[in-house]
Symmetry: C2
Subunit: 225 residues, 2 copies
């Protein structure tokens, strides 16, 4: 997920090794916390369990994070950043706001298959991140606002539309994780179409907008590395 800090190569070899080890330890803690968040939520994780899973000493935890909550917060932000990177890479080639919005929803829904850990974290902790300045929320708010300005969506309060978008997405991801037997391959597109219609798009246009080709999310974007 993370790499050695810029400029480490030019530092003295000792400091550089120290920095790299420090970065590795921090990321190991974050990775372990992400896995706990995805599978158990943040209800009952102990620092000891996290350091055991990360294979680092209990005491070194406090070299990186003042409290468990600081680590959990960093882990959620790490997952949201990874999600944001995916959204940006996979929607950059679309022109209009409604199509970018629709593609972002579909990429997010498909996380349950392409990146189940991130989907689990969103499902278990997501409601608090509906108004986050990271991940999907700021991007969806940008796209909804533009789609209203451009006349693609009816006039609406964008934060209201964002709350509906985010909440229903979380409900859908929850359904996907808890009741996979109710899922069909086109559920993401039917959901997206329904949301676009709710925002005022004509049914036929919504159906087409929700079905534009998307890349295979497990390998990379349609064009470019």
């Amino acid at each position: 997920m993370s790499t050695a800090p810029q400029g480490a190569e030019t530092a003295s070899s000792g400091a550089s090794r120290h920095d790299r080890r420090r970065t590795r330890t921090r990321q190991a803690l974050i990775d372990a916390a992400r896995e706990f968040l995805a599978t158990r939520g943040n209800l009952d994780i102990s620092i000891q369990e996290i350091t055991d899973a990360a294979d680092v000493g209990f005491g070194s935890f406090y070299n990186h994070f003042p409290t468990k909550d600081d680590l959990l917060q960093a882990a959620i932000e790490d997952a949201l950043e990874e999600h944001a990177d995916m959204l940006d890479r996979h929607t950059a080639h679309f022109q209009d706001a409604a199509t970018v919005f629709a593609a972002s929803l579909r990429v997010t829904i498909r996380l349950a298959d392409s990146h189940p850990q991130i989907a689990g974290i969103l499902s278990r902790t997501g409601m608090r991140y509906l108004n986050s300045d990271r991940g999907l929320a700021p991007r969806a708010l940008r796209d909804i606002t533009r789609a209203v300005t451009d006349g693609q969506f009816d006039a609406t309060t964008p934060p209201l539309a964002l709350a509906i978008t985010g909440g229903s997405l979380l409900g859908l991801i929850h359904l996907r994780l808890e009741h996979p037997e109710l899922w069909t391959p086109d559920t993401p597109e039917r959901f997206t179409e329904q949301l676009l219609v709710g925002f005022g798009m004509p049914r036929g246009l919504a159906r087409a907008t929700a079905r534009k080709p998307l890349p295979d999310l497990t390998t990379g974007p349609i064009s470019g590395p």
Copy 2:
């Protein structure tokens, strides 16, 4: 919330008093837990804090609940039952499924004003109750299924529609509690209209269905006691 058990009057006076006290203590614990759930979620409540708030002895907790989680579960079910009673009382006089569904949504959204404690509990713990057999979920599933059968909604998978409904409702309640400045008096009706349109209802009919008169939820149903 709760009354003495049926038949207590005919029991011996001592047993009756004991039963009543036992019921009162149990309900005091549930009421205290509900308040904690609404304001803090269930992250970090101790049994000591709950018994202090309920004004009962620490030891008597275990006469009623084996663990803290059992109490929290009972408290959530108590809130969901109260919500269910409101839904049944305030929607019984409507005939068609889509109108019952719409009224249920609006009653639920207005909880933030009429019953903020229940709204807080839903907002903080709600995602896990999207498929609950209590509260809104089973009623909304019933109404969606009927509305599809009656041709009011497009053919859809009712559990998918329920996940969208429940998730977006939670997102909306979250917005109401965290960003009241974005709220207008008709936000519940605009939200409901949007959801109905998403489920395939024509815009004009959805607007009318989402705006049928509702009782003042703080006083009681339109007709009845």
